[in-house]
Subunit: 458 residues, 2 copies
Amino acid sequence: MKRILNIETIEYLDKKVKVCGWVNSRRDHGGIVFLDLRDRSGILQIVSKPDLVKEIKEEYVLEIEGTVQKRPLKMVNKELETGEVELQAEQIRVLVKSEVPPFDFKNKDSVSALSLPTLLDYRPLTIRSEKIKAIFKVSAEVVDSFRRTLKNLDFVEFQSPNIVPVAAEGGAEIFHIDYYDYDAYLAQSPQLYKQIMLGVFEKVFTVTHVYRAEPSITTRHLSEYTSLDIEMAFINSWEDLMDTCEILIKSILTDVQKDCQKELSLFNDEIPDLKVKIPRLKMREAQKIIFERTGRDNRKEPDLEPEDEREICKFARDKYNSEFIFITHYPTKKRPFYTYPDPKDIDHTLSFDLLFRGLEIVTGGQRINDYEMLVKNIKKWGNDVKDFAFYLQAFKYGIPPEGGFALGAERIVKQLLGLENIREATPFPRDTERIDQRLSLSQKRKKTKTKPKKKSKK
Amino acid sequence: MKRILNIETIEYLDKKVKVCGWVNSRRDHGGIVFLDLRDRSGILQIVSKPDLVKEIKEEYVLEIEGTVQKRPLKMVNKELETGEVELQAEQIRVLVKSEVPPFDFKNKDSVSALSLPTLLDYRPLTIRSEKIKAIFKVSAEVVDSFRRTLKNLDFVEFQSPNIVPVAAEGGAEIFHIDYYDYDAYLAQSPQLYKQIMLGVFEKVFTVTHVYRAEPSITTRHLSEYTSLDIEMAFINSWEDLMDTCEILIKSILTDVQKDCQKELSLFNDEIPDLKVKIPRLKMREAQKIIFERTGRDNRKEPDLEPEDEREICKFARDKYNSEFIFITHYPTKKRPFYTYPDPKDIDHTLSFDLLFRGLEIVTGGQRINDYEMLVKNIKKWGNDVKDFAFYLQAFKYGIPPEGGFALGAERIVKQLLGLENIREATPFPRDTERIDQRLSLSQKRKKTKTKPKKKSKK
């Protein structure tokens, strides 16, 4: 007999079927035992005589043959998609046994009650909870919608390498690799490769992992994260980039709303109103507004602090009824060498961040496409032009006016679902303390190096 | 005026339009100058008076306004999709200048004449050639079709991490990362994470980069490559995996055939006949056949040599008219710890490779899903069980009978297009000698380490 999914049983009333799955829970009622069987489609109630399920415990993997029957009216469970039926077990085969899980993680409340370290220490188990599974269903939809939307806009996908010879974004926050007998690094961004590929396809995107050796522990940084990266040529103005970004974000959220209804219902936050046009504000104006609203004077700071980002998002909601806001014109000094300076104010750039519910989820801007200007900036930013000779070839032979941006996939999911910590938004978070297991449990501590400095930013 | 693409000009006869692109070539004919303008959609012939294009050279990026006109009948170029029209330039704006390219790389023959080192040293330029661009259009289609097909088969995508604490596949061919003050490695495969995620979604896939510190120089190995990885639960038999693999490969090739006609026409090789069922042969039988056909006696070898793979593919073509062949039951010792041994012959495994035109493009098999058996094998393969404690949790709490496989994206493209070297099938190949620029040109040679041993396998 061919296995059917739990959800399909509702179409097999009074028929004999075979289902497979994990024992989500077991309830003994004297002469009768109920099992909740979990498969990828959902939960199905199994009714069995005790002797058929004698040794069977939670998380055992079973193959069950039986007859689908309508539940008595008072036994209907409206919470379940299969809540009007149950399977009367006739034959049960244990495919594999399980130990008893160390704690309850099955329902929404029990999993929410777990501490983050427990959640992650036991990730291979806790990720089976319906609520956590939902996070990764939403993640998959975000990434897939990103690609589908761009493909429809005539963008071409490419694979960006992660082993790189130089730090494109500058800074010390870069992981070193022993590469044969040379030094290499983990990519901080696919920036240089996007720009090269733009010389081929004009409009390109890549879904890639990027790496930041971020020594501070925050709720919004990961050492490895998924970057949804685009770059587009022949822009008329750097504002074209924000227009495309707005279309893309709204398309992604529309798709999530359509395809992840069940998953979204497990979380409190709703999809933002997508009819609202996203406001655009210069960073210096934002600082002024924050000063006026809170008395906090950060008007000379080169960047927005996390609390500034939260405050300006409150402002956007109050004034524009928008859960998003573009902040533009970040200072030239705070952006990478390839960022285009505003011709009318060269201390600030044609750059932007998109904030969503208090957190930056996108960074982008126009890039310098003039060869001489780029060479000058590479030097000015303290780099060796020789290290960038490969990249510079693209500009030696003509790259049109262009720009791009990058979305942090985990940040979108975090903000959309109202997760407290970015670590919840990736199945296998990497940080200063953890690669799967906690590093402190590892035997592999290096003896030659000192501990990284940790400061606790919120 | 809004820019239109070159290909769109055929719908604007006698109308005024604006186009943008790169100067692919320039031909001066006395009182008239012809430019071939290249954009992402193809080539358009521009006709101009000499004074409008005085300084304009190859690879300059232009914005041109003019009127689309029908070419005189004898001037029609059937090689071009826009070959029946041309644009009479009225206004030309240089968006950015270019140096003169150091060699001709524009047409099929000139780019084929370039040596591989030249092709790669000048990658940001040579990748603009129509023929090389076509390789990466096909790559994008292969990857996208892989995902679309699996999504239709109810698989769920996830992001597999590249920073890992242990070597899943064993062996010394692994890159080391300085991870804060700990040791970490670049993933050799997403194997362990696929198996954990299978406990959540039953059928999962990931498109990820994997890393092999492969010191030998061959035409088929890269240090970083794109792995198309799947894993599926509740299999009835390990042969289900080959069935799914066959469906998937045929679906990918069907999509490439449909969506990349223009690109395929630039290469000599054709899409294989997809109606032919792929034959399946045990490795030991393959060795016997090779011995009978060639007299080469490798019947006691633990694996097929590259020349064996080529010979057995010839056999598959001769006997079954198939360009593919599954080779099964590789020796237990040659496969990773998680491979399921054949219960009828424990020295061989329920594993397979798929060969295509002489090269392995897929590796897969059933996995051990029994906790005790897995622990035993981890030890037997010389690993520390403690290093695998995170992974083992999945099996402690029940993983169904399962298996999976991985396709090398660059290998499929190489074999499909008949490329000589795998380095041609990735935009930015990484190997012992190159990360973008040649490593020998780099200042970053480490002083403490010796050179890797290089043996030249074909």
